[in-house]
Amino acid sequence: MALATSLPPAQSHRLGAEALPIAMFLLLVTIPILAPLAGGGYLLSFSARVMIFAIAAVALDLLVGYCGLISFGHAAFIGLGAYAVGILSAHGISEALMSLPVAIAVAALFAFLTGLVCMRTSGVYFIMITLAFGQMAFFTASSLAPYGGDDGLTIATRNTIAGLSVLNNERVFYYVVFGCLLGCYVFCRALVASRFGRVVRGAKENPVRIATIGFDVYRFQLTIYIIAGALAGLSGFLLANATEFVSPAYMSWQRSGELIVMVLLGGLGSLNGAIIGTAAYLLAEEWLSGFTEHWKVIFGPALVLVVLFARGGLIGLAAALVRGRRHA
């Protein structure tokens, strides 16, 4: 279903499929130029935040959208990446060339170790186990008294790159985040289109058949789980640098739930949807929290309505509108 909505009719395939991401990234690249006209620094930092979460959401879409693996512990990987930055900087190391590989490696290692168990299960078990491992990371971070415990850890300064403190410039930081998102998006697009990607997508439709052809589904799924974890670690690295603060709240299971909501809001299994959904979620948060601090009282029921009546997400909705117009 998700795949079908993301694949437009054959003749307009190339242009139709590429117009959306091109427009999206063009918009993102011009925001620092537009920012002085409207919103200023706030628009810039908000957009950077959207892109940071979009990296994690794109990674999550690999699992949920392309593999049918509903990972409910995705925030843990973001948190691990962020904590890597925080803990290193607490020990006086604030060099990105050092902390970025560590952040990614720690997240990937955690994905590998938990994946060994998670990937042996499926369906509801998988959801609950990823949730439980996410909580494990959360509670472990909360009990790290030397690194702030529940209260979290303030990072003295943003990471330097090869000794240069260029990330302190908001525009430079914005374009670094932009570059990461673009790279991550292109990488994931290539991944799902590759032979590897076709195997995991096939395993989503029918794991038994893929196994019968001779592929070890467990290995393929474990690999993509590690990739998704590593990319979320990258997102955590950027998040820690953006906020100059890390706390266990980054790993809370509500945050994992929000990430799934972001992916679903945009539309599953298209990667574009993950980015659009992240922007839509964070914009909704901005907008609704202007009315009341209890904006989730409104958002919760809205979510139920989306599930009941608009299952393809925003992209699905747009595709349905376009199709409707064509038929009319």
Binding site: V64, I70, F72, T114, L116, V117, R120, T121, G123, V124, Y125, I127, M128, I129, L131, A132, F133, Q135, M136, F139, T140, S142, S143, L144, A145, P146, W253, Q254, G257, I260, V261, L264, L268, H294, W295, K296, V297, F299, G300, P301, A302, L303, V304, V306, V307, L308, R311
Partner: protein, 307 residues
């Protein structure tokens, strides 16, 4: 660590265990029978506690508060089933997750909106507010014993219900093969509504019983929900017996781990590093236990589904 402290912590562990069982029982049946994942189940536990506080303020009687809150929890569960969950059976797990996540956000923040974010408390009945002497110099609150006893009594009652009544038989059959039960002419939707309402009431009951000893706050449901998931996963989805064994196991491991990890670690490392590693290890212990159980038996200790 003295013998008295160990006994107290074992009792505390048992208390957490029966509490988890009350929450996990409804959840595991709902999973088992309808393959439905309900993230809002913990919120129903929290709601039970809040309703009890509210009704106590109205009636000034714990018993009345208990009865009214139970009825309200049941009514709320049935209303949720009727309005939302009923339309999601047979859908993707992802749809369940998102919709119940939405409900959870609604309840959690609705509670904050109505009662505020500050913790509330529910006074325990005067008659049961004292302590009993377990041994020399060792007092234990009566109410905690009441919680344990009522949990065990509910477990026994559930056992009778599930093993010795016709409805219980259908529930068990539904957990092992719901489509077959439906094909045999049983109204599986009605059955599920009963299971769901009953599960919501059990979760509410757990919330009411612990309200006098814990603070009643908007985050209380989320913590137990995850623990209940761990219980269900270890016990095997759909199995009441598995939920009971796993709940006691988790309750004991978690409580004893938290109280004694530092002391145990001190045997093998220095006191300062034991103080750092101990709490971290204790908070990981149940998840590690779960990982080990699942690595050996991916469908839990007592799998109910015939595969």
């Amino acid at each position: 660590m003295s013998a008295g402290l160990v006994i107290v912590q074992i009792l505390n562990g048992l208390q957490l265990g029966v509490l988890l069982f009350l929450i996990a029982a409804g959840l595991t049946l709902v999973f088992g029978v309808m393959d439905f994942i309900n993230l809002a189940h913990g919120a129903q536990y929290m709601l039970g506690a809040y309703l009890a506080v509210a009704f106590f303020a109205l009636t000034d009687s714990f018993l009345m508060a208990l009865v009214l809150a139970l009825a309200a929890a049941l009514a709320f569960g049935l209303a949720l089933e009727f309005l939302v969950f009923r339309h999601l059976y047979g859908r993707d797990h992802l749809d369940h997750v998102i919709a119940t996540f939405g409900i959870l956000l609604f309840i959690n923040h609705g509670v904050k909106l109505i009662w505020g974010a500050a913790p509330l408390s529910l006074p325990m009945p005067d008659l049961l507010s004292g302590s009993v002497r377990l041994m020399d110099g060792l007092l234990y609150p009566v109410w905690r014993l009441v919680v344990i006893a009522s949990g065990l009594a509910t477990a026994a009652f559930l056992y009778l219900l599930v093993v010795h009544t016709r409805t219980g038989m259908l529930v068990r059959a539904g957990a092992s093969n719901a489509r077959m039960v439906s094909a045999l002419g049983v109204d599986i939707r009605r059955l599920f509504m009963i299971v769901f309402g009953f599960g919501a009431m059990l979760a509410g009951f757990a919330g009411i019983m612990v309200a006098p000893i814990l603070s009643v706050d908007p985050g209380m449901g989320d913590t137990v929900l995850i623990l209940a998931f761990v219980v269900i996963v270890i016990g095997g989805i759909g199995s009441i017996r598995g939920a009971f064994v796993a709940a006691l196991l988790i309750g004991l491991v978690d409580t004893l781990g938290r109280s004694f990890s530092v002391d145990i670690l001190r045997l093998i490392m220095g006191p300062s590093s034991a103080r750092t590693v101990g709490p971290a290890l204790a908070s990981m212990s149940i998840y590690l236990l779960m990982a080990v159980v699942l690595y050996v038996r991916p469908t839990g200790l007592f799998p109910a589904k015939a595969r």
